[in-house]
Amino acid sequence: GIQVEQSPPDLILQEGANSTLRCNFSDSVNNLQWFHQNPWGQLINLFYIPSGTKQNGRLSATTVATERYSLLYISSSQTTDSGVYFCAPGGSSYKLIFGSGTRLLVRP
C-alpha cells in the first residue's frame, strides 16, 4: 500500500509567521486531500488537490504528483490554525491513506 510521510511532525510558530508542511507518498495517486483537526477534534477538509495548486485565504496547497509530494502553505498564522494537519493520498476517495500528521501550535 501507499506509504505516507509528513514533515515536520511538530511545529511551533509565533502568530503571524509563515510555514510549509510537506507530505511525501510512495506511489502514484489519483486523489490527495489535506485536513485540519482542531483542538476540539473536528476534522475539516482543507483541500482536494490531486495535482496543481489551490488557494483558500491564507492557506494554499500544491501537489506535484509526478514527484510524489504535496505542500501546504500557511501564511500569517493565527492561533486558530493550531491543531493537527493530515495529508491523505489515495487511489480514490474510497481509500485514502492518512499520514501521521503535523502537530502545529501557534503562540499569541
Binding site: N30, Q33, Q42, S93
Partner: protein, 111 residues
C-alpha cells in the same frame, strides 16, 4: 444544518457489551465511510460503502458490523467490546471522487 452527523458523541461502556453508532449525511453523497482514530491520532479506514454496497472492508475484527439501510445512513455495530476498541470513530461521506467530509466523531471508552 449538520452535513454529517453521528450519535452518540460519547460512549462509555463495559468490556463485553454491544454498542452501536449511527451516522447520517444530508449532502447527497453516494459513498460513506467509517474511520477509527486511535490515541496517537492515527486515522485508519475501516469500511466504505457506495450506494449501500460494501466496497472496502479493511482488516477489522468480525465484531464490527456496518449496516447501510440507505445511501444517507451508515451505522456501526460493535459486539463484545474490548479495551482495545477504545478510540474515536469518525463517519464520513464523499461523492464518487472528491472531498471527504467528516462527522464530529464518537468517542468510545471501554472500561
Amino acid at each position: 444544518d449538520t452535513a454529517v452527523s453521528q450519535t452518540p458523541k460519547y460512549l462509555v461502556t463495559q468490556m463485553g457489551n454491544d454498542k452501536s453508532i449511527k451516522c447520517e449525511q444530508n449532502l447527497g453523497h453516494d459513498t460513506m465511510y467509517w474511520y477509527k482514530q486511535d490515541s496517537k491520532k492515527f486515522l485508519k479506514i475501516m469500511f466504505s460503502y457506495n450506494n449501500k454496497e460494501l466496497i472496502i472492508n479493511e482488516t477489522v475484527p468480525n465484531r464490527f458490523s456496518p449496516k447501510s439501510p440507505d445511501k444517507a445512513h451508515l451505522n456501526l455495530h460493535i459486539n463484545s467490546l474490548e479495551l482495545g476498541d477504545s478510540a474515536v470513530y469518525f463517519c464520513a461521506s464523499s461523492p464518487l471522487t472528491g472531498e471527504l467530509f467528516f462527522g464530529e466523531g464518537s468517542r468510545l471508552t471501554v472500561l
